[in-house]
């Protein structure tokens, strides 16, 4: 199934880890994004949620995301060890044993799903369970080492949090939550492929079939443009939906105009030009993509605040 023989990291003895090592296992930066997008999904929903319930359920979603991060670090410790970007992670560096990472991941997965069921509802808990399964098993154990489409399919796992937040509030799934899912799902490939363009040697050394390794950088640049176009269309669609508003529309126009301009610029560059300036444009694109997602969701939240204050009664929702 995989091209890489996995060493038995489970049996590796862990050091006497500190609390921050266990916290690092949960990928705190990914958790921060999950907290933000899940909270936006919950707060833009047309049904109000008590602040305590909102806090408790978003916490469950964050812990579930952290648990899947720990399972990812348990399984991927062999390739993490050979990549400069990930070699200092708790398992490959020996501070935490694979067994501990596995136990923490499984324990927190069960706890987070159970508590979300109790604090929220069955649908949100089911979606969280599916997200953890999708990230830990479908992406990490299966697709990551099998296909250059790993990022595309794995991106679905990161796209679920706003949908789960929405499900907590409304008890259902609707076109608005699917559009929020779509924004993150389509944002993931250009974001990670831009990173892969200037970190290619890492993935190559680890034998991970990233798009840059398998299809080449030229094709990766083309794919970044394709996904950026699809992302821009989805971003505009969100602004035209019932959760959109003037701020979301303004943000979508400005952000997507720059996204498309930068994606076109990346497409026009070749490796000679990129190498000469140290992949400056690729690094800028990567940094901008983080700002893009944050600003898009922040605008949704701002419009929800306007709507709650009765300042936005006449937004023509087309979707």
């Amino acid at each position: 199934m995989t091209g890489i023989a996995r060493p038995d990291w489970t049996a590796a003895p862990g050091g006497d880890a500190e609390m921050r090592d266990y916290f690092a296992l949960m990928k705190p930066r990914v958790m921060a994004l999950v907290i933000f997008t899940a909270a936006v999904g919950l707060l833009v929903a047309p049904v109000g949620v008590h602040p305590v319930i909102a806090f408790a359920t978003v916490l469950c979603i964050a812990v579930g995301a952290g648990a899947s991060g720990a399972l990812n670090m348990w399984w991927d410790a062999d390739i993490d060890a050979v990549m400069a970007r990930t070699a200092r992670r708790p398992v490959p560096s020996g501070r935490v044993s694979g067994e501990e990472a596995l136990g923490l991941g499984l324990g927190l997965s069960l706890l987070s799903v159970l508590m979300l069921f109790l604090f929220g509802n069955a649908l949100s808990a089911g979606l969280l369970a599916f997200t953890i399964f999708f990230y830990a098993v479908v992406y990490t154990m299966w697709l990551k080492r099998l296909t250059p489409q790993n990022i595309v399919i794995g991106g679905a796992a990161g796209a679920f949090p706003p949908m789960i937040g929405w499900a907590v509030a409304t008890g259902g799934v609707s076109v608005e939550s699917v559009l929020m899912f779509g924004v993150i799902f389509l944002w993931t490939p250009p974001h990670f492929w831009a990173l892969a363009l200037f970190m290619n040697s890492d993935y190559e050394r680890a034998g991970v079939p990233m798009m840059t390794v398998v299809a080449g950088r030229r094709e990766t640049r083309r794919q970044i443009l394709v996904y950026s176009v699809l992302l821009a269309a989805t971003g505009i669609a969100v602004a035209a939906s019932s959760i959109g508003g003037p701020l979301t529309a303004a943000a979508a126009i400005v952000l997507n105009a720059r996204l498309l301009r930068d994606a076109l610029a990346l497409r026009a560059r070749d490796e000679t030009v990129a190498g000469a300036d140290g992949y400056a444009a690729e690094k800028r694109f990567f940094a901008f993509s983080i700002l893009y997602l944050f600003a898009q969701f922040l605008a949704l939240l701002a419009d929800a605040v306007l709507r709650a204050s009765d300042l936005l009664a006449a937004w023509p929702a087309l979707i």
């Binding site: 006497d16 500190e18 008590h50 408790a56």
Partner: protein, 59 residues
């Protein structure tokens, strides 16, 4: 003579203290959510085992 504390024990104490705080926070969270859910669903009592119209006058 008192033995100087080993660095390992200091580290473990810090870890156990943090874990204690997390568990305490979890218990508090469950308690607060329970209070909120019960407050929101106070009318449940009126229709739980036996219907009591006196409890439903607020509707």
């Amino acid at each position: 003579m008192l033995r100087p504390e080993h660095e390992l024990h200091t580290r473990r104490r810090g870890r156990n203290g943090t874990l204690g705080l997390i568990l305490g926070g979890f218990v508090l969270l469950v308690f607060v959510v329970t209070v909120v859910k019960l407050s929101a669903g106070q009318m449940i009592e009126g229709f739980d085992h036996a219907y009591r119209p006196a409890l439903a006058t607020g509707q």
